[in-house]
């Protein structure tokens, strides 16, 4: 057991830190906020920043070298995410492409499909995912968006919802039904869809924050070449599970890194305001301890993965606790200003409202508790 960086890890951490200090200019920092992306006429500056990250070798750190990655161990990805969060540096624009879609293409893709990988790394292509539907949220196997195989194309009809950043994306990894709805998860197929195709209609969803970073995407008789099937026809469920598994592997580091940065901002805010109320300070101390426990738990998960394990359902605990902690922290930030919080600081207003989605997105707290109850504790299924 060693909680310190190995010499190689320490050297890499120092390299990342120095590079970020030299290369992340202050006016780019706002790019890390989803709020900023809403108003980008084109994602130009964010794409430039992402290309810079890729050229420096920080995109696809854990991807194999043959696909343009660095082939680095998972600990390096963890260190990179901790350091970018600590520096409050903007993340790569293609977080979904790098963390979820790229690894899925590497695992299931054809040689032709793998040509997307280099473009994902340099943010020349931005990708979104199309999984959830109005009638299929937590119950993903209930999706109805349909694809009919006709000659060498699939004709797609249906509606997806909560596709993050679809409005600035070039491609979508789309989960569709190619069998009947009674097939449930056996009748699903994964398609790679060019969002410039005719019949694709992307409509932003305005969220409670006032921003519109998520989209609804309507597909009306959209033709997708059959060569764009990722994996086998009918194997969409296992492809989707690969994607979600990759999300789980390093998601904890991104989330907890962001939470730690959030905690630091609340602490600085409390100091600036000279907050001395022991009750408020104790609640802040509780969150500081929670963040520390989450950071350490990430390291334990990473060690388990690096020692040959696979991302298991235990990771659900980190996402669950992260979301609750962020909600308490943002609420606390407003409370630190007292009654003046009726007209709060814009950043904290945004953060508080945005945090309501944390216990819903990427697995609701209730689904995560079901996962733990059934798959970790071995309790009987609730449905």
């Amino acid at each position: 057991m060693d909680l310190n960086d190995s010499p190689e890890e320490a050297a890499f951490r120092a390299e990342v830190r120095t590079w970020l200090e030299d290369n992340a200019p202050a006016d780019l920092r706002e790019l890390s906020s989803p709020a900023a992306l809403r108003d980008l006429p084109d994602a130009g500056p964010a794409k430039e920043w992402s290309a810079k990250l890729a050229n420096a070798g920080y995109a696809g750190l854990t991807w194999p070298a043959e696909h343009g990655g660095r082939g680095a161990p998972l600990t390096f990805q963890g260190i990179y995410l901790e350091e970018t969060a600590a520096a409050q540096a903007p993340s790569h624009l293609g977080v979904i492409g790098l963390g979820m879609i790229g690894p899925t293409i590497i695992e299931h893709g054809t040689d032709k499909q793998k040509q997307h990988l280099a473009k994902i790394l340099r943010a020349e292509e931005v990708w979104c995912q199309g999984f959830s539907e109005p009638g299929a949220g937590s119950d993903l196997a209930g999706i109805r968006t349909h694809a009919e195989h006709r000659g060498n194309v699939f004709i797609v009809n249906g509606q997806k919802v909560w596709s993050s950043f679809a409005h600035i994306s070039d491609y979508c990894m789309l989960l569709v039904r190619t069998g009947t709805s009674s097939d449930r998860h056996r009748g699903l197929t994964m398609l790679l869809v060019d969002l410039r195709s005719s019949g694709v209609d992307i409509r932003p969803i305005r969220e409670m924050t006032g921003d519109a970073v998520f989209d609804e995407v309507f597909y009306t008789n959209v033709e997708v070449p059959a060569e764009n099937v990722l994996g086998e026809v009918g194997a969409g469920w296992s492809v989707a599970m690969t994607t979600l598994g990759h999300e789980r592997a390093t998601l904890g580091f991104s989330l907890v890194g962001a939470l730690e940065a959030q905690l630091q901002r609340v602490i600085e805010f409390a100091r600036k305001r000279g907050v001395a109320d022991p009750i408020l300070l104790d609640r802040l101390a509780r969150e500081a301890i929670e963040v520390e426990a989450l950071k350490l738990t990430n390291r334990r998960m990473l060690a388990a993965l690096s020692n040959g394990g696979t991302p298991g359902p235990e990771g659900s605990a980190i996402k669950l606790r992260w979301s609750l902690s962020n909600q308490r922290l943002t609420g606390l930030a407003l409370e630190l200003t007292g009654a003046a919080a009726v007209a709060p600081d814009e950043e904290w207003r945004y953060q508080l409202l945005r945090s309501r989605a944390n216990t819903i997105e990427a697995g609701t707290s209730e689904v995560l508790r079901n996962v733990v109850a059934e798959r970790v504790l071995g309790l009987p299924r609730s449905r």
Binding site: A276, A303, A317, R321
Partner: protein
């Protein structure tokens, strides 16, 4: 960066768990607790034979020469088994003792305890006590401990003999945290086992989310507590400068987790969980004892709260 047990540590834990499962099944825990003596003094010889009494004592003194990680593993397992005997008390005294005294602990000839905030755990089960003024014989008045398997008393005024060292608060807090982690794990196991079997409305009650979700919350509590507990144990030898902070937050967090875990386990048991017959109350009482001894979580979080405040500021002058 490799936050994981070594293969040897995993084997050490499995061995300890098996030994305690065999020698201390739940019905025996209850029988021992309700016996006149309240613990089984013959178990002390077993602990000496297993090398557990001298786990952190140097090998040339007859100890096992292991580290604080292994010590934490043992305390977690003994907490899980609800061992009633002055093991924790004796272990916490070790840093204050000289080589000969440590050697006699390792072979099971001497039992020790420590005085913290005027309170001495297991006072009636040990020979000597480490106080701030040195060693003294274990004589005094017993109090009505919330946990009958972990008695507590106050020393009478008596003479002290000097000791080569002092107890280490970080070691104390880390030890208490480790035991609390074990209590929480066992409470979860007992709860899970019951809700798989117990049927109401035609289904195992663990099917209902009102039952399963609190148990899932205990699981995530334990995941985080485990990280803090073993980070603290690691810090004791690897980063002594940060040990007090790490141990304070581990004890604050893990004892709250143990109390919540036992409370949830009692709740999912329904009426049977409120009976003397069911063993859960014994784990609950140990959790409450661990939460209070050496400071409640709210007090222990002071080390974090103080660091949140700026070193100098107008409100500090106000407070003075």
């Amino acid at each position: 960066m490799n936050f994981a047990f070594t293969d040897e540590q995993r084997e050490f834990r499995d061995l300890a768990r098996r030994f305690l499962q065999d020698t201390l099944p739940l019905d025996r825990v209850a029988a021992i607790a309700d016996s006149a003596e309240g613990w089984d003094p013959s178990s002390w010889t077993d602990l000496a034979d297993m090398g557990w009494l001298g786990a952190t004592v140097a090998e040339d003194l007859g100890g096992t020469g292991l580290g604080y990680i292994e010590q934490a593993i043992l305390l977690e397992e003994l907490g899980r088994a609800l061992y009633a005997g002055p093991y924790l008390s004796t272990i916490l005294a070790l840093p204050a003792l000289g080589p000969d005294q440590q050697a006699s602990v390792a072979v099971g000839e001497a039992r020790w305890s420590i005085e913290v905030d005027g309170l001495v755990p297991d006072l009636d089960r040990v020979d000597c006590v480490v106080t701030a003024d040195g060693a003294t014989t274990a004589e005094g008045e017993m109090l009505a401990s919330i946990d009958p398997t972990r008695p507590v008393g106050r020393l009478q005024v008596g003479g002290h003999t000097p000791l080569p060292g002092t107890t280490d608060r970080a070691v104390v807090l880390s030890g208490l945290a480790s035991e609390a982690l074990g209590v929480a794990c066992r409470a979860l196991e007992i709860g899970v086992e019951y809700v798989k079997e117990r049927k109401q409305f035609g289904k195992a009650i663990g099917t209902y989310q009102g039952i399963s979700h609190p148990l899932a919350d205990t699981f995530s509590d334990i995941e985080l507590a485990h990280s803090l507990v073993y980070a603290a144990a690691w810090t004791l030898s690897a980063e002594p400068a940060g040990a007090l902070r790490a141990a304070s937050i581990a004890k604050a967090f893990a004892t709250e987790v143990a109390v919540a875990a036992t409370e949830r386990a009692i709740q999912v048991h329904g009426g049977i969980g409120f009976t003397w017959e069911h063993p859960l109350h014994r784990f609950y009482k140990r959790a409450l004892w661990l939460q209070a001894f050496a400071g409640y979580p709210s007090e222990l979080r002071g080390i974090v709260r103080d660091a949140l405040l700026p070193q100098t500021g107008p409100h500090q002058a106000k407070g003075a």
